[in-house]
Symmetry: D2
Subunit: 257 residues, 4 copies
């Protein structure tokens, strides 16, 4: 039976190649995660277990997909960076987007039990995803600065909000107190509630960076009992500032051509 | 801290709305599923449990997303149809594609244990996905005919191939025997191996159709003990021909405007 | 000298195929034509010569491009319709758009002298253009209805406006009088100024339709002096209603598949 | 009469913004210009008048559109470069492409008489056009190098070909002689025919570059009769190498951010 009679329907598929020589960022973002975190009683304003589950999925994703050179995560979102010369699935947008988000979603469910041994997964975790092209490293850095500023702004607000709630305010009262406040005022509110913002865990304040790095490992000991070391590439996570130059200077490989 | 300095990076996101008044098909497809089915020792040529796991995910997907009016699955792929007037996520391609494939992937892992109580999930199931626009119901039907013809062609070949293997042939020998054969010759090979192709389970030969249907349900019994029935819309699965007119005539709602 | 070193720059060209099996409309629109019509002292509210120059260009365009089956023009804009199965330049959007607008622009300059023998072309006529896909004949008809309603609304307003100007009002006064008026009030204003709107030339009120039609032509006379006729396909222009069914029923070929 | 009933057809227009922060090249290319140059008896292999007509149109285009910072022309094609920060028509591809090609086409017809006072314009000049995004200045330079290499390769071949024709060979014979020849062999053929390739006019060998430059102009003479000079920006044309660094170093403004 010839298939040709119907095969013309394939011609409706449109080419969706991402521009060559552009960096590609794929950002995934939890769908209805406000509700998801309620159902699963995530701690407020930040649930460390939930963040580490996201990080663990991102790490596994970088282990699998060599073309992803860097990832930055905050809250229920994660951004993955592909080198500008990457030919991953011939740069076809829907392939790249769907494979990353599918892989991440499967991992999230598979790793749930490890992160939350006592919590049942009650609803279906779901993420959306999009691919964005950036023509220069300068703009790629601005992208990640944008996400980290967002992390800071949201985290500071949420920390204030939930500390006020824990101090006995209603949600409405907390919102009213925070309306229109700037960074110094928020810091003061936190201070009065006994919290030094800068001493909060860096994972909350800075988000998480995932990338490959060379680490020296002891591979064996020689006859004299001296360690034999070797450089190995390993995916690791840090929580630090990525807006300034320091991080990128220390890790020049990430944004090298 | 103002975010505006970096927010310009948002301007690189491109609008990817799918054409209005077109039917939308999202097809998901297992990535490296040949290997996945080897690792998990799926039965050849068809593993009923694996197919029913796919179906169960598709059913749950239709329960969740009311805009999906029909789905057709075969092997490790599933096609989901949105009405042409659907405004699901404002018809943004990457939203639609990513959410469906993410939801399906999470379900696949969550439901694994039920389908395979004795098998551990050893590798990470992953699907790609794409969205395609079709301007008319005629072409939508041709699309599903295309998939069902493909189901038939592949299933017939695979059934022959694996029956030859089970009869003692090597893979190379089986391939050589099947090279260039047409439907009647394949049926004859099967017949000689004691198999009547048309008596194989319909789920293998026809694939699976998932859609909402009105079913009469007993909701309670009145005082006389008579059943009180009500029409309810329920997602169901059938395995039947969808190339001819009969199916679509019986279910006119699916392709109605 | 090998060219290959630089040829990679071709890979940045993106495929821009218009969806198959969709009708294609290319609409061209005068750029800065308000100013252009001032410079060339076009008559207000309608300059018959200028409209006929547009029509003449559209006619020549249909003579050249067989895939264009219908065109509708009003003021300084023209819409050209390609059959949904057209494979003109493999349906590449930029090819189709650029070739049509380039051809039209050249014609406009070449034909200027014939339309305006006493007027010099003082500035450079320029048109923009875009291509739009429509999945059904119903929507194609709605498209042309949209343009004809626009023609009517604009023409009625402009006729009122310029009649008020000619009756001695300032532009500001005319605008104030017309602000918020509906069709009946505008007709009354015209009536008071001695104009029966429905008796204005159809080319002003209805715009112009260009399409191929079969006409009977006398090709020669036989020995008895009787005319020998033959059907010939000719591009012609009419000014009539295209919102109702009559026009399309009379010319079924235009929208036939 | 409300227009809203039909206005939904506007929703089928797709956004076609060109990527921000990318250089934009619009290349126009003569359609059927082989035939066009035969009909108008252009000199072979190069018609200086025809090239200067193209150049004159490009110059006028740069005078009109300030966002175009550079243009390079060869034969019947011209490439126009927009700065990467240009917001010309909000970077909408079809607007940019159509306006440039329309403007150029009108100019071509309007200027024809000046270039060819004794030749009637017998057929309709028509150009296609496309827009391409380039993410870096390096790639923009490679683009123009690509075009200039093409200019050289074609011109050398064509010069050989037409010199052989003029020496009495048939077209077939000329093709056979040139088949597979490299640059040195072509130069030798030309040498034998009495032509030193490097002494041919630069406009043939190098194509034409159009850009704005600062020129010192005498604006008036003061009382003592001394000239008062002022720097003025003027669009000019040169025919020189643009593959090496020299040109771009001398004109740093063109590719500056």
């Amino acid at each position: 039976m010839a298939n040709s009679k119907y095969e013309y329907v394939k011609s409706f598929e449109v080419e969706d190649k991402l521009m060559p020589f552009n960096w590609i960022v794929v950002r995934i973002d939890g769908r209805h995660f406000h509700q998801f975190s309620d159902v699963h009683e995530f701690e407020k304003p930040n649930d460390k277990q939930a963040l580490e589950l996201m990080n663990s999925c991102a790490e596994a994703l970088l282990e699998e997909f060599k073309d992803v050179v860097f990832a930055y995560g905050v809250s229920d979102e994660y951004s993955f960076l592909f080198k500008k010369t990457s030919e991953f699935y011939q740069r076809r947008a829907s392939k790249i987007v769907s494979i990353l988000v599918s892989f991440f979603s499967s991992l999230y469910v598979m790793k749930w039990k490890t992160s939350f041994p006592l919590k049942e997964l009650k609803t279906i975790p779901c993420f959306d995803a999009r691919a964005i092209c950036y023509p220069s490293t300068k703009i790629v850095r601005d992208y990640f600065s944008w996400r980290q500023v967002d992390c800071h702004v949201n985290n500071q607000y949420n920390t204030c909000f939930w500390m006020l709630i824990k101090s006995g305010k209603t949600k409405r009262e907390a919102q009213d107190i925070l309306k229109g406040t700037q960074t110094p005022e928020k810091n003061e509110i936190l201070f009065r509630l006994g919290i030094n913002y800068n001493e909060l865990p860096a994972i909350f304040r800075k988000g998480s960076c995932v990338f490959r790095d060379q680490v020296e490992e002891i591979v064996k000991y020689n006859q004299d009992g001296d360690p034999v070391k070797r450089l190995r590439t390993k995916v690791g996570i840090v929580h630090c500032d990525i807006i300034g130059d320091a991080f990128w200077r220390e890790h020049p490989k990430i944004l090298s051509d």
